[in-house]
């Protein structure tokens, strides 16, 4: 996983709440057996509408998505995170993320930055007034910034300490856990005999 410290990129205002994983990547895309090639499936149904925000040329190279609350609800499909990443997104900003989506983001290196409702509203207004404007995320200081001068938006975002550390270091979770293999072995010796086995 690549290290993540700071990022500045063109931000897309997605004025929707409850953006579920079936919208992010519809089920028929889930038949693929790779982690790449999902970019064309991202928001597939909505992108059929020429007016959909992501279809505007100004957002062709967008890397930050600013969405309403309850982003990523529904299925456990990590393909939703891969689709966002395959398209080019590095960050999703939302007032509230579904638990599994947030977990999957952390594992795959997509920053899920949780901010106050009002911050999303201000970012939306700023981005609508300045299409193609950038938003900056600083994972070291957990801040989000956009705009200049007196109207500049600067606020903090929430991410748990452990995920932040792993993203900053670009660490592989399996590798970390395998360094505790002794603890796992010790635990296994104490498991009751009545626990079921499949073989």
């Amino acid at each position: 996983m690549e290290k993540f410290t700071t990022h500045t990129g063109v931000a897309v205002p997605l004025r929707r709440s409850n953006v579920d994983t079936d919208q992010i990547i519809p089920a028929h895309w889930l038949k693929k057996v790779t982690r790449d090639g999902f970019e064309d499936g991202l928001f597939e149904a909505w992108r059929k509408d020429p007016e959909f925000v992501l279809n505007r040329p100004v957002y062709a190279d967008a890397t930050v998505l600013v969405a309403g609350p309850d982003f990523g609800t529904g299925s456990s499909r990590e393909h939703a995170v891969w689709a966002l990443q395959n398209f080019g997104f590095k960050v999703v900003v939302s007032p509230r993320f579904a638990d599994i989506f947030r977990g999957n983001s952390g594992k795959s290196g997509l920053l899920a930055a949780q901010v106050d409702d009002k911050v999303v509203q201000r970012l939306w207004d700023h981005l609508d007034a300045n299409p193609g404007a950038t938003v900056s995320l600083d994972l070291v200081n957990r801040t989000v910034r956009a705009g200049d001068g007196p109207d500049a938006i600067e606020d903090s975002f929430t991410i748990d300490d452990y995920t932040r550390w792993r993203l900053l270091e670009g660490l592989d979770d399996v590798g970390i856990t395998l360094s505790h293999a002794d603890d796992i072995e010790a635990y296994e010796t104490s498991r009751p005999s009545y626990k079921p086995v499949t073989l």
């Binding site: 079936d22 603890d183 499949t198």
Partner: protein, 473 residues
């Protein structure tokens, strides 16, 4: 201070706990299916890692499986490749697999309990968000992404921050004619899709105790639809009666030791929940969704709501979008909504009890002329049991389609899909835009409502069916 049920189960599985880190939890059972596992096995191969505990891992094929022409290879080549990839991976890594054609094939959340692999006090994960189904036995069960699937395959453990604890106190008794599905749909509307976020919820109260194991599974299954990490119910005699004698249930001394431990898996009287919510079961009537997320529901006797009635801006906009997508007008009585397709099945309502209820209601009726009913059993064993009881004959005589086992139209990864604009009453768990087929419109319902709807051709409940019978008699 005492502990909640979930805290007890959690604490029993902590391999490693360290300040500033999530707990490392041991995983008792890892369920696998073809959709969320290929990239995980690839990861193992790349790193040269084995599956640490194939004996705590089991796979089945469910999401892509066709429900017709079961004797032929899967026609969709991409689906077939995915299923074949699972077969190769299970072979290579020594994982037990119940493939298409096997008597124990079926939806992963139907198969686990059916085999007796799902037991109280376990930690169970699967790359599928409806894994909370297994919480009905008093286990902590939750859905994980593919990176976590790889992590569990490699280490039989998972790093997890300890969630907060919530109690859902179900007071009163569920009235006759109301089901577990109506209860959970009403709860999700009460709490919205994000209400359970960050919590493991324990469903409690006499109304829960009165439910069968399969009805409890329906409740826990939909925990994710209001955002909860997991949902569970304390084990009791109902649980033990369901489990005893199943292929993987403990026997002899092991059974006694297990039950002795399971008896301790209750929330202590002096335990404290971070949050307690209450729902009155006695007020629950048949409940259906009108919108495009499971929190957009109303009683079947109600009307399509007016978006302006939502104070919250996001909810109001979501309601406007939903009505447009669903092709509905505010104020329309729900029962006036005509339905093209009825889907009875899924990990929510595809078990034998669901099919028994459906058959009992359908018997002697005929499916409405412009409506079709698909009945898709949750597993091969459910199908065989239903056929032994003659339920398939009742369905077919009424004009419903009797299919093979799998996830089917719940998410339309197989050929069972809605067409653009087609409207369904579905016993599944999600009414998201396009979930059951591009442009398809879904109303989530109980099996009872599904049958009445299929017979009458519009959203309807068992009471409406009874009236029809009276009028006919």
């Amino acid at each position: 201070m005492g502990k909640t049920l979930a805290e007890k189960v959690w604490d029993e599985h902590v391999v490693r706990s360290h300040e500033g880190e999530p707990d490392l939890l041991y995983i008792d059972l890892h369920l696998i299916h073809e959709v969320t596992s290929p990239q995980a096995f690839d990861g193992l191969r790349l790193a040269g890692r084995p599956v640490r505990r194939p004996d705590l891992t089991i796979a089945t094929e469910d999401h892509n499986i066709p429900t017709t022409d079961l004797d032929k290879p899967i026609a969709d080549i991409v689906s077939r490749t995915q299923v074949e990839t699972l077969r190769r991976n299970c072979e290579e890594f020594g994982v037990r697999l119940h493939p298409m054609g096997d008597i124990d094939q079926g939806i992963v959340h139907v198969v686990g309990p059916q085999l007796g692999l799902t037991q109280p006090g376990m930690t169970i994960v699967c790359g599928d968000s409806h894994t909370a189904t297994h919480g009905a036995f008093g286990s902590i069960a939750f859905g994980i992404g593919t990176s976590e699937v790889e992590h569990v395959l490699a280490t039989q453990s998972l790093s997890q921050a300890r969630p907060k604890m919530m109690a859902v106190e179900v007071v009163g008794d569920l009235p006759a004619g109301s089901t577990a599905k109506d209860l959970i749909l009403a709860l999700i509307t009460q709490e919205t899709t994000g209400g359970g976020q960050g919590y493991i919820v324990e469903y409690r109260g006499d109304a829960i105790r009165a439910l069968s194991m399969e009805a409890r599974m329906t409740i826990c299954n939909m925990s994710i639809e209001w955002g909860a990490k997991a949902g569970l119910i304390a084990p009791d005699q109902v649980t033990y009666d369901y489990l005893e004698g199943r292929p993987s249930a403990p026997t002899g001394d092991d059974w006694d030791a297990a039950v002795a431990h399971w008896d301790s898996l209750v929330t202590d009287d002096d335990a404290e929940f971070d949050k307690v919510i209450t729902i009155d079961a006695s007020t629950i009537t048949p409940f259906v969704t009108w919108g495009t997320n499971p929190g957009q529901g109303v009683p079947l006797s109600g009307n399509v709501p007016d978006p302006v009635s939502f104070e919250d801006d996001n909810e109001r906009i979501a309601a406007e979008n939903a009505l447009t997508y669903m092709g509905l007008t505010a104020g329309t009585p729900m029962k006036d909504i005509k339905v093209d397709t009825v889907f009875i099945g899924s990990c929510t309502n595809g078990r034998i009890e669901d099919l028994r209820v459906a058959a009992a209601l359908m018997e002697g009726h005929t499916v409405a002329p412009d409506t079709r009913i698909l009945v898709v059993p949750g597993s091969v064993r459910v199908r065989l049991q239903a056929e032994q009881e003659g339920l398939d004959v009742i369905f077919k005589d009424a004009g419903a389609e009797w299919r093979g086992a799998g996830c089917s139209m719940c998410l339309g990864m197989n050929p069972d899909q809605l067409m653009v604009g087609e409207r369904a009453a579905s016993t599944s768990n999600r009414n998201f835009e396009g979930r059951q087929g591009k442009g398809g419109r879904t109303h989530l319902v109980s099996p009872d409502v599904a049958v009445a709807t299929g017979i009458l051709g519009h959203l309807a409940g068992p009471a409406d069916l009874a009236q029809l019978e009276k009028a006919g008699a």
